[in-house]
C-alpha cells in the first residue's frame, strides 16, 4: 500500500510506543478521541469549561468545522493509533450551521458501525451524540459515561495477536518463524 500519510510504515517512535506494552502495570485508563463540530459540541465543551464541569481526562478533542467533515477514515485511524473509543459530537438534526452536515454524519456512522461490528469492535467504542452549544452538562455526562464504559470494556487489542507487532520491525529475516513471537497456541481442533 503506498505510504501516503506515513501511516502504513510506522515511524520509529510510534513503533516503540506500540511495542512496549506497559499498560499491563497501571490500571487501564482508556483513551478516547472526540471529534467535535465547532458550532455546537465544541462550543458546548467550551461552556462546560467555563462552568468548570470536570470530566474524564480520557477525552482528547479534535475540532472539525462540522460533523459532516468526519471521514470514517479518521475513526479507523484513531483506533489504529491506539484510541480505545471514538466519540463524535454534532448539532441536533435541524440545527446544523451548514444545514445538513449532521445528517450525512449520521448515515456514515450508521454504516461504519455495522462494518466495525463485523470486525469485532464493540459498539460502545464508537458513539455519535447530538450536543447543542448550550448543553455543556451533556458533554460532561457523555464523556464520563463513555470513559467509564471503556474502562470496564478494556483496551482495544488491535492486532496485538496478529502480525501487527511483527510488521513494526518492517519485515526482514528477524521475525521469521511464527512460534517465537506468536503466543497464540492452536487450541486442540
Amino acid at each position: 500500500m503506498p505510504d501516503t500519510a506515513g501511516l502504513v510504515k510506522l515511524p520509529e517512535e510510534m513503533a516503540a510506543a506500540l511495542a512496549t506494552d506497559d499498560t499491563a502495570k497501571q490500571p487501564f485508563a482508556p483513551t478516547i478521541v472526540a471529534f467535535f463540530c465547532t458550532w455546537c459540541t465544541y462550543t458546548a465543551a467550551d461552556m462546560a469549561g467555563l462552568s468548570r464541569m470536570a470530566y474524564s481526562p480520557a477525552i482528547r478533542v479534535v475540532r472539525l468545522m462540522c460533523s459532516g467533515r468526519l471521514d470514517p477514515q479518521f475513526v479507523v485511524a484513531a483506533f489504529r493509533h491506539g484510541a480505545d473509543g471514538v466519540l463524535i459530537g454534532g448539532c441536533h438534526p435541524g440545527d446544523c450551521h451548514y444545514q445538513e452536515g449532521n445528517y450525512k454524519a449520521l448515515r456514515r456512522v450508521a454504516l461504519l458501525r455495522s462494518l466495525l461490528g463485523q470486525l469485532g469492535i464493540e459498539p460502545q467504542r464508537l458513539r455519535l451524540e447530538w450536543i447543542s452549544a448550550s448543553e455543556g452538562e451533556k458533554v460532561q455526562r457523555v464523556c464520563n459515561e463513555m470513559a467509564e464504559q471503556l474502562r470496564e470494556l478494556g483496551p482495544l487489542r488491535l492486532g496485538s495477536q496478529g502480525l501487527q507487532a511483527e510488521q513494526v520491525q518492517n519485515g526482514h529475516q528477524e521475525y521469521l518463524s511464527i512460534d517465537t513471537h506468536d503466543p497464540v497456541e492452536a487450541t486442540t481442533p
Binding site: P72, V76, R107, L111, Q118, G171
Partner: protein, 329 residues
C-alpha cells in the same frame, strides 16, 4: 549487451496474475525479446537455487504477486528483494491483500477446524492435521509456517512500485514493462496506474444524475439492471467512484457493478472506510429508523468495502468476536 533480467513470482495467489502476463499475447513475445525472464514458476523451469545463484541486485526487477501468508513466501520475497534493484507489487493481492486477505476476518484455529474438522466430506474420524514437521518412514517432511494473518507485500519487504488490479489490466502491465525497459519508471512508491477514480473512464458516467441520491440499496440478483444507466443510480453498490481507473470499466460493460479491485487513489489512506463514506453519503434517508433500515441493506460491509484490501486497511483484521450482523463466530 545482455537483456535485463526479470523474475515473476507468486505467493498466496490464484495464478490469475500469471495468466494476465500470458494475456499480453503477441506483446509477450516482444517482451521476452526485451527482457530475460530468469524465474517464473508457472511457465519456466528455473528453480529456487537458480535465483539463489544470482548476484544481489542482478535482477532489474521482480514482479511479485499474491499476498504473503507463509514463511516460505516470506523467504522467497526476501530473497527476490535482495536479488532485485526494483520490486513491483503486482496485482491486488500483493498491493492490498486481495480476496485471500478476507481470511483476516478469521483466526487460524477457526480456519483450521473448518478445513480439517468440519468439512462434511472429510474421512471420518477427521483427526489428522497438516503438520509443521512430520516424521515419515523415509525421513522428515516439513511444511512452511503460516502466519496468523495475511499481509501485503510491503508489510514484509520494501516495495518500489505498485501495479494494482485483479488481475492488472494487460495495458498497464505492458506500460510497466516498457517503462522498466526504457528506464522511465517514476519515483519510488508510485502506483503504476491512473491516479483518478473509475468514473472518469466509465461509459455510463454521463447517465449519472447531477445530484445523485439513493433511496435504497439493491443487490445484483434482485432485479434486472438497465445496462444503459449508471448502476449506482439504480441502487447497486458500485465502488467506481472510490476505485482507481485503468481497467476501462470492464465489469460495468458486463452490466455488473465495480467491486474495487484496483484499490484506492494515492490521496486515500484506507480504501474501505473512504468507499463506505462515499456510498453512505448518497443515502436519501433522513431519520434514524430510515437510515438504520437502509444501511442494513448493505448486508456484508467488510465483504463489500474491503473485498480486496482488508490486510492493507488500517484495522487489518478482525479484533474480537464478531458483533452485530457478522455471520461468523
Amino acid at each position: 549487451m545482455t537483456k535485463p533480467k526479470v523474475a515473476f513470482y507468486w505467493c498466496a495467489s490464484c495464478g490469475g496474475c500469471e495468466e494476465a502476463v500470458v494475456d499480453l499475447d503477441e506483446d509477450l513475445l516482444a517482451a521476452t525479446s526485451l527482457v530475460d525472464v530468469v524465474f517464473w514458476p508457472v511457465a519456466l523451469d528455473f528453480k529456487r537455487e537458480d535465483v539463489e545463484a544470482l548476484e544481489d541486485g542482478e535482477l532489474v526487477a521482480s514482479f511479485i504477486n499474491g499476498a504473503v501468508r507463509t514463511s516460505e513466501q516470506e523467504e522467497m520475497v526476501a530473497l527476490l528483494r535482495r536479488k532485485s534493484q526494483a520490486v513491483v507489487a503486482f496485482g491486488s493481492c500483493a498491493v492490498l491483500g486481495g480476496i485471500p486477505g478476507l481470511a483476516n476476518l478469521y483466526d487460524r484455529e477457526a480456519i483450521l477446524s473448518t478445513v480439517y474438522r468440519e468439512a462434511p466430506s472429510l474421512e471420518v474420524p477427521a483427526t489428522t492435521f497438516p503438520m509443521k514437521q512430520t516424521r515419515v518412514d523415509e525421513g522428515e517432511l516439513s511444511l512452511p509456517t503460516l502466519w496468523s494473518s495475511v499481509c501485503t507485500l510491503d508489510d514484509v519487504i520494501d516495495v518500489d512500485y505498485y501495479l494494482p488490479g485483479c488481475a492488472p489490466p494487460p495495458r498497464l502491465i505492458w506500460a510497466a514493462l516498457s517503462a522498466l525497459v526504457e528506464g522511465r519508471l517514476p519515483e519510488k512508491g508510485a502506483v503504476l496506474a491512473p491516479d483518478v477514480a473509475l468514473c472518469s473512464e466509465c461509459p455510463l458516467s454521463a447517465t449519472k444524475p447531477e445530484k445523485l441520491s439513493v433511496s435504497r440499496f439493491r443487490r445484483p440478483h434482485e432485479f434486472l439492471a438497465d445496462p444503459e444507466l449508471c448502476l449506482l443510480a439504480q441502487g447497486l453498490v458500485c465502488l467506481g467512484p472510490a476505485t482507481r481507473a485503468g481497467c476501462e470499466a470492464v465489469c460495468i460493460a458486463g452490466n455488473m457493478p465495480c467491486t474495487g479491485c484496483m484499490g484506492p487513489t494515492t490521496r486515500v489512506t484506507d480504501y474501505g472506510a473512504k468507499a463506505l463514506s462515499g456510498i453512505a453519503s448518497l443515502l436519501a434517508a433522513d431519520d434514524d429508523a430510515d437510515i438504520t433500515a437502509r444501511t442494513a441493506e448493505i448486508v456484508d460491509p467488510v465483504g463489500t468495502f474491503y473485498r480486496y484490501s482488508l490486510p492493507a486497511s488500517l484495522l487489518r483484521q478482525r479484533v474480537g468476536e464478531t458483533v452485530g450482523n457478522g455471520a461468523i463466530k
